[in-house]
Amino acid sequence: MPSQEIIIEVSNVSTSFGQHKVHDNVSLEVKRAEIFALIGGSGSGKSTLLREMMLLHRPDSGKIKVHGVDLTNITEAQGQSLRQHWGVMFQHGGLFGSLTIQENVGLPLREHTDLPDSLINELAEWKLSMVGLQSGVYGQYPSELSGGMLKRASLARALALDPDLLFLDEPTSGLDPISAGEIDTLILKLRDMFGLTILMVTHDLDTLWQVSDRVAVLANTKVEALGSMLELSVSKVESVRQFFDGKRGRSAYAQEQKISELHI
């Protein structure tokens, strides 16, 4: 369960692309072993915020600290060590097309450790089986896999270095409900068993209800609301209401109500 230790600290971050303002003084904190979700409509700057946390984009002003390291004036060496402590699963996989699935997962280990090849292969196979991929596909190339398999393989690669922080960009989008459910279970298992801190961008209401501890709603360049799904579901803020009052939002909420009744 989440502790009080802060892993990611975003304070007063502003970002704009040309005239278009994406973030205006956005602040939030992610605690250790927390599953934190960023939601918001298209163009609300969720992905940009995520990219800023992973050192892929620099905010115009404000400060982001990851593991207590300020990303604004980070040195190359600090950046490298930080990168080995997080894993990233990209929306479209981001797997290298010239490598097999197993080589993709083994690549971070080959780059950053002195482990022998045989061990790296074993570890890669294990990570792949952990995300639910069958051994038949390990030798295949990303172009030969389905979208769902790519997501799983990408997750396995994100886990290759046993990171303590995991960034997930739309982990369940484009997956069938069963696979999405399995990914949800896996995310929970990783957090409970290995104490991973997980930050994800998602639109999947089921995932949000099942998995997330806290959710930040980005809208109108700000964090409009922040809290657990239960807290947000009774929020009066308009942008949050839009999210819950849509047809899909209502059905996911209803389902959640049924599930919690069963548990009681």
């Binding site: 230790e5 250790r32 593991h67 207590g68 390291v69 060590s81 930080l82 080995q84 402590h85 097309g97 010239s98 280990l109 950053h112 450790t113 002195d114 482990l115 022998p116 045989s118 061990l119 074993e122 570890l123 196979e125 294990w126 990570k127 089986s129 952990m130 051994s135 030798g139 190339y141 990303p142 172009s143 030969e144 886990l159 270095l161 046993d162 303590d164 068993m193 290995f194 104490g195």
Partner: protein, 378 residues
């Protein structure tokens, strides 16, 4: 956890039967652990006590490696008791133990043997034959498309044709001109010494005229265009097939061949012969300059001789070749583009293949033409 320093993973067998694990068993601190495990001495004790009280951290890879230490001992028939492991570490070890056994069983089932050299030759040969067959059927498809367009000319897309003429033809004028000019200079220069020895200075005109019009101009133009436009065709069509644009065309009822190949083919068939004429002119001009400076053949003498030395057929043979080369380059470029499957590196591979194959086929065709023309005495 801040990014604090951790001690390297280690295990000690100094106080047997105590097997003491210490340090951080995490991916970045495992270092040469695999070698250490490999070099573990055989021990006499039958009952081992695994002591986990000094372990600072244990991640998934660390647990895997730690388990392989313990597994090695248990396969030697030792009994292991655990002591001092934090509950979460013990739990992780247990998960790994389960996975480890499953993995050991699974990896025994799968045995992949690389093909023998004979099999390899067979595979390569089959692939090459298959590709040749595919190329043939591609040529057939395009031919049918051409026939269909002739029957129904309103389906011809004029705008892309003009665009292709500008891209492959007009924009290539400077580079083709410069290279043809230099080629003319070089050929004349190399022959100057020999001709002067025999006092046959004026024959430089025959040499330049015939070699340029018949061989060099079509060839140099074709090689440049293969590198310039053939590769672009392969890359464009390849990228489109990777991003499912080709499929999108098909489902929208647009025939990709008609949209992508035909305009390129028509554009190229018009551009390359024209570029060859341009290369003819610049090549002869290059030779003419060298002839004047090196062999004292004046421009007037040169042109006067050129008209007599070079027959009309020499010129038309060159243009005919250019026409064929244009078809080869476009067909190979588009064919390799359509063969792209998978990701970005496949686009690169097919583009390279398109350039290599089209230059290869252009030169082979040139050689065949020489044989053919000598038989026909043209």
């Amino acid at each position: 956890m801040k990014l604090m320093p951790m001690n390297a993973a280690a295990f000690s067998m100094n106080a047997l039967p105590n097997l003491a694990f210490s340090g951080a068993w995490v991916t970045s601190k495992l270092f040469d652990m695999a070698e250490k495990i490999h070099g573990m001495p055989r021990i006499a004790e039958l009952n081992i006590i695994a002591d986990g009280s000094e372990i600072e951290a244990l991640d998934m890879s660390g647990a895997w490696v730690m388990h392989s230490v313990l597994n090695r001992l248990s396969t030697q028939g030792k009994t292991i008791t655990y002591k001092g492991f934090k509950p979460e570490f013990a739990e992780r070890l247990e998960i790994v133990a389960h996975e480890f056994n499953r993995h050991a069983n699974a990896s025994r089932d799968i045995k992949i043997t690389p093909p023998s050299w004979l099999e390899q030759i067979g595979i390569t040969a089959t692939k090459a034959l298959k590709e040749a067959k595919d190329l043939l059927s591609f040529v057939g498809e395009v031919s049918l498309m051409i026939v269909a367009s002739i029957i129904n000319p309103s389906r011809i897309r004029w705008r892309p044709i003009l665009y292709n003429i500008r891209e492959a033809g007009f924009n290539a004028i400077p580079i083709v001109g410069v290279l043809a000019f230099l080629l003319g200079v070089v050929v004349a220069y190399q022959s100057a010494d020999q001709l002067r020895n025999y006092g046959a200075n004026i024959f430089v005109v025959d040499l330049i005229g015939i070699s340029m019009l018949r061989e060099f101009a079509p060839l140099i133009a074709a090689v440049i265009i293969a590198g310039r436009s053939g590769s672009a065709y392969a890359a464009q069509i390849g990228t489109m097939s990777v991003t499912e644009e080709i499929d999108a065309m098909r489902v929208l009822g647009i025939v990709p061949m008609e949209m992508l190949v035909l305009p390129k083919l028509i554009g190229m068939v018009i551009s390359l012969p024209l570029l060859t004429v341009w290369a003819d002119m610049l090549g002869i001009f290059g030779g003419m300059l060298t002839a004047k400076t090196q062999l004292d053949v004046s421009f007037v003498d040169f042109i006067g001789r050129l008209v007599k030395a070079v027959e009309m057929t020499t010129y038309t043979v060159g243009l005919g070749k250019a026409f064929v080369f244009a078809i080869i380059i476009t067909m190979i470029g588009c064919f390799q583009g359509f063969r792209t499957h998978g990701g970005a590196d496949s686009v690169g591979r097919q583009t390279t293949r398109s350039v290599v194959q089209s230059i290869f086929l252009v030169i082979v065709a040139d050689a065949l033409f020489s044989v053919l023309f000598s038989i026909l005495k043209i």
